[in-house]
């Protein structure tokens, strides 16, 4: 994505924010203790960007996604503040919407696609009916909506007639996933939250879907929050990356910069650990240690037990974001971000080594 550099260059004026997340936490009370699966997260999401949220399973990324739609499942407790800025009109305080407002906010403003595409459709209802009921539930114009649905399906390399009359089980996983994307866009939302939308699909289908998402973003001007554990998958798609570790973000930055020279030791270790086709094989290394337990997160910097740079400072104080190289677009929650490059070298291609 070459235009990612444009985004960072154009950040002199305040970026046009669409979602402002402040001090959001999601917690569960479990027998073993109080568990915080999203821990005091603050992030701003810009209009029309594709932001990739990367984290291991159990890092809190799916809960973060659910929080954006105020859709955290019981008995999870959501706290903090989430503000949504429509293109025109008053900002919306998402967490104080009443049931009916929330019902309209979801899907009309913010839609969601998650990994369970194979299980996202009513097994005893045709695909057409899914589109129809969604349009009717939001009192939108049925005919226009269905035309838009057909258009979307065709854009996703699907035959609208065949898909409409099909039942979910008659479509392959890749087809269901693309249909779900079309269904998420049928009411022309401004934001789509995608939680592992391509997990369990073939490589070719994964890649095709990410390409399509990028094309749809360009055509319809939507903001995409793409959540995944698969770093390479978003590398070619996202404008900006947010890396989550242990229930909070540890690094933000334009995709290009984060990949070229990550500023957090965890991100660097992750880049070394991910199988890909370019890195020399002998340079790939697993990350030492285990991911933390939500009931018992290490104090201070949660990554310190696994980090080669960890000092007493990391145990004593939880780092807040440092601006990397004075660039306000690049943030790293590491006391020693300046030393990370030297301590954990990695290379993304056969020739160079950062």
């Amino acid at each position: 994505m070459s235009d990612s550099s444009l985004h960072s260059a154009g950040s002199v004026s305040k970026p046009d924010t669409i979602f402002e997340v402040e001090n959001v936490s999601v917690s569960f009370d479990m027998n073993r203790g109080h568990s915080r699966v999203v821990d005091d997260v603050s992030v701003e999401i810009e209009r029309d960007e594709i932001i990739g949220v990367v984290g291991e399973s159990g890092s809190g990324k799916s809960m973060f996604a659910a929080a954006l739609l105020d859709a955290v499942v019981e008995p999870g407790l959501l706290s903090g503040e989430i503000t949504y800025y429509p293109e025109d009109g008053e900002p919306i305080d998402v967490l104080s919407l009443d049931d009916d407002e929330l019902r309209r906010f979801r899907w009309e403003e913010v839609a969601m696609v998650d990994q369970g595409a194979m299980d996202s459709f009513n097994p005893t209802m045709s695909i057409e009916e899914h589109f129809r009921e969604t349009i009717l539930a939001h009192e939108a114009n049925l005919e226009e909506g269905m035309d838009h649905a057909r258009e979307l399906l065709a854009e996703l390399y699907l035959d609208p007639d065949r898909v409409f009359e099909a039942y979910p089980h008659e479509l392959s996983g890749g087809m269901q996933q693309r249909t779900l994307i079309a269904l998420s866009m049928v009411l022309k939302p401004n934001v789509i939250v995608m939680d592992e939308p391509t997990a369990a699909l073939d490589l070719l289908m994964q890649r095709s879907i990410t390409s399509l998402i990028s094309q749809l973003r360009d055509k319809y001007g939507i903001t995409v929050i793409f959540i995944t554990h698969d770093l390479p998958l978003v590398a070619g798609l996202a404008d900006r990356l947010g890396v989550m570790y242990a229930f909070d973000f540890v690094e933000f930055g334009p995709t290009y910069d984060v990949l070229k020279d990550a500023a957090h030791p965890y991100t660097r270790a992750l880049l070394k650990a991910v199988p890909n086709t370019l890195t020399p094989l002998e340079d790939m290394r697993p990350i030492d240690g285990d991911s933390p337990d939500p009931v018992d997160v290490p104090r201070g910097c949660s990554y310190h037990p696994r980090c080669p740079l960890a000092t007493q400072e990391c145990i004593d104080s939880d780092p807040s974001f440092y601006e990397v190289h004075g660039d306000r677009e690049r943030l790293s929650a590491c006391h020693h971000w300046e030393d990370a490059a030297e301590a954990i070298p990695y290379s993304l291609s056969t020739e160079e080594r950062v």
């Binding site: 739609l69 859709a71 499942v73 019902r103 309209r104 979801r106 899907w107 009309e108 839609a111 969601m112 998650d114 369970g116 299980d119 996202s120 459709f121 009513n122 097994p123 005893t124 209802m125 045709s126 009921e133 969604t134 539930a137 939001h138 039942y167 089980h169 008659e170 779900l180 269904l183």
Partner: protein, 339 residues
């Protein structure tokens, strides 16, 4: 279409096998109808002081049972099948001498009346109860109903029937103790007659409702909870669908579907239980005649009833299977496993 043809073919095959089986049982059973009738006629002859004329007795038995021991088996079999399939001729009852078909034909509507209403009312009540239990999952109502359902499910229906008969009919005289309609009324389209039928049928119907009550409610509860936890329901909520649509089109439909086949098979189970139930309520339906035939060793009638019960079961399962494809789109296509 292949699916429907295949199911139809299986049903026909099953029926033919059952009819063939009755043929074999009828002829081969030790102590079976032929030996039994011979023995009885010999006894009768001796009892009346005569010398038993074996030749004559054999001929009489032949006429009454329709079995000619001199004919080759395959011709017998052919004729037996032909009579049943083409002429609905199941032979005559040994005791009353009436054609088996006529006896069953007149008794059947009464049994169907009782069992279909019982099944429908019971099923509906169960489904509603199960859905409400699932909705209030974990509440006191839910756990209370679960206990009641388990208890009701473990009470044998005949115990329930006897208790009802004892209290509602004999003790408080709310319902008649037997019969199908008031003796004074003429069968026909009169209000008097209809009320009588309802009054007489009420207890048998109630005891039919009792059969398996609770079990279906518990299954329904489980299905509802499973559907409510499914991902597609979460997505439906996110899509902003109304609660009533989610309740009917999503939870209701997907939770009831798996019970549908059970409902059709339940029909057969209820006919089976009618044997004892109709006896308790002195309700002359198919079950009542079955009990009678068993007591009297009326083999032709028994065979007819066996064929009748099998037909009802097979047709019930067949209808369930065929219509299941219409209401559940997943059933009619052959899903191929990935490889």
């Amino acid at each position: 279409m292949n699916y429907y043809l295949r199911r139809l073919w299986q049903a026909v095959f099953t029926l033919v096998v059952v009819i063939a089986l009755t043929f074999v049982l009828y002829r081969m059973m030790p102590g079976g109808p032929i030996e039994q009738m011979e023995q009885r006629m010999i006894d009768e002859a001796i009892g009346s002081g005569q010398d038993p004329d074996l030749q004559y007795i054999r001929r009489m038995v032949e006429i009454r049972t329709g079995i000619d021991p001199n004919k080759p088996m395959y011709i017998e079999f052919y004729e037996y099948m032909r009579d049943i399939i083409l002429y609905q001729d199941f032979g005559e009852s040994i005791n009353s001498g009436d054609p088996v078909f006529d006896i069953l034909f007149y008794a059947m509507p009464w049994s169907i009346f009782v069992s279909v209403y019982g099944l429908l009312i019971g099923f509906t009540a169960n489904i509603v109860l199960g859905a409400v239990m699932a909705y209030y999952e974990g509440s006191r109502f839910d756990s209370g109903s679960t206990i009641v359902a388990v208890v009701l499910n473990s009470i044998p229906y005949y115990v329930g029937a006897v208790i009802m008969l004892a209290f509602l009919s004999f003790q408080w005289e709310l319902f008649p103790t037997g019969g199908r309609y008031w003796a004074g009324t003429e069968p026909g389209f009169s209000i008097e007659f209809a009320l009588g039928v309802l009054h007489h049928g009420a207890l048998p119907i109630m005891s039919t409702i009792l059969i398996g009550f609770g079990g279906t409610a518990l299954s329904m509860r489980g299905n509802c909870i499973r559907v409510m936890g499914s991902n597609y329901l979460r997505v439906a909520r996110l899509r902003g669908l109304s609660d009533s649509r989610i309740a009917t089109r999503y939870v209701g439909r997907n939770a009831i579907l798996p019970l549908y086949t059970g409902f059709m098979i339940g029909l057969a189970g209820i006919f089976g239980s009618s044997i004892i139930m109709e006896q308790i309520f002195t309700y002359p339906g198919v079950g009542w005649y079955t009990f009678d035939a068993l007591n009297q060793r009326d083999y032709p009638l028994l065979m007819g009833i066996l064929i009748f019960f099998s037909t009802v079961t097979v047709i019930g399962v067949l209808i369930a299977d065929l219509t299941y494809g219409l209401i559940d789109p997943r059933a009619s296509s052959n899903d191929r496993e990935g490889f």
